[in-house]
């Protein structure tokens, strides 16, 4: 499938935000309306809608056509496609950098106690 915009970039950009990750996590338990999503996030409906738009654009979330409820759900295939290994790569570095933090604290302490 050819696309002009790198789809992986869009997915990563969409998932870079903690609120959007919270939305994705919530949707992983099943479909939800914008109202249901907004409540635990303590956000306004327009605020949540803005985040949902980014997720939709990245193809991570689809919104139903039911005019009353318009439930949102995860586009599972899309998530599976790329987000897994990119997120894992990030997490691996996060873990290594946490070790680096600890090591920096250790050597700085030594420096001070000298």
């Amino acid at each position: 499938m050819k696309r002009s915009v790198d789809p992986l970039s869009m997915i990563l950009a969409a998932l870079a935000d903690p609120t959007r990750r919270a939305i994705v996590e919530k949707l992983s338990t099943g479909e939800a309306t914008v109202n249901t999503l907004a409540e635990p996030l303590q956000m306004s409906l327009p605020g949540v809608s803005k985040h949902l738009k980014v997720l939709q654009k990245a193809g991570l979330v689809v919104q139903g056509r039911d005019a009353q409820r318009r439930p949102c759900r995860l586009n599972a295939r899309r998530v599976r496609e790329v987000a897994v290994w990119a997120e894992r790569f990030r997490k691996n570095w996060e873990e290594s950098f946490e070790r680096l933090d600890e090591y920096l604290a250790e050597i700085t302490k030594k420096e001070i106690s000298k």
């Binding site: 950009a13 599976r80 897994v84 997490k91 050597i107």
Partner: protein
């Protein structure tokens, strides 16, 4: 940002051939530069917790070679090597990087150390010959991670 707050690694893909990560550290740039360029330091932090740095060679001069190998608990070796292109302490460090398991996937990695108020923002920028190689690099991060199964996305997928 407080010093005790968990610090996130921000991953972006500026273009189809690039990958960039940023992360803040509570240390001066010079210290951070040192822990990236001296083997006795690198051995203490490089890689996820379940792995061990078993080889760490650094010939810190332009054109000098480096080679880091991490070993997983089941004995699998993950080797990276390359050479230094630019050494400008404590601001910039540029080197080629080869993931030895994927020949031909050499990238140019540029580390930038931006110090401000005692904090240093580290940017790791990776430039690949093409998109396939970049994506392979992202995928290569999978292996050690498989053993670390506390990933957010895992739980998301499990629930689908």
């Amino acid at each position: 940002m407080t010093k005790t707050e968990a610090r996130e690694v921000t991953l972006t893909l500026p273009s189809a051939c690039e990958l960039a990560m940023t992360r803040a550290f509570s240390a001066p740039a010079l210290v951070l530069f040192e822990v990236w360029t001296k083997p006795e330091h690198v051995r203490k932090w490089y890689g996820v917790r379940s792995t061990t740095v078993t080889v760490c060679e650094i010939e810190l001069r332009v054109g000098g070679a480096w080679r880091w190998v991490v070993t997983t608990p089941n004995g699998m070796e993950i080797a990276f090597s390359g050479e230094f292109l630019e050494i400008d302490p404590p601001h910039r460090l540029q080197r080629t990087e080869r993931f030895e398991a994927v020949p031909g996937a050499d990238s140019v990695v540029t580390l930038t150390f931006d110090e401000k108020d005692g904090q240093t923002m580290l940017t790791t920028h990776m430039l690949f010959p093409n998109r396939q190689q970049r994506d392979l690099c992202l995928k290569s991060g999978m292996e050690p991670g498989v053993k670390e199964c506390y990933d957010n996305i895992d739980s998301i997928l499990a629930a689908l």
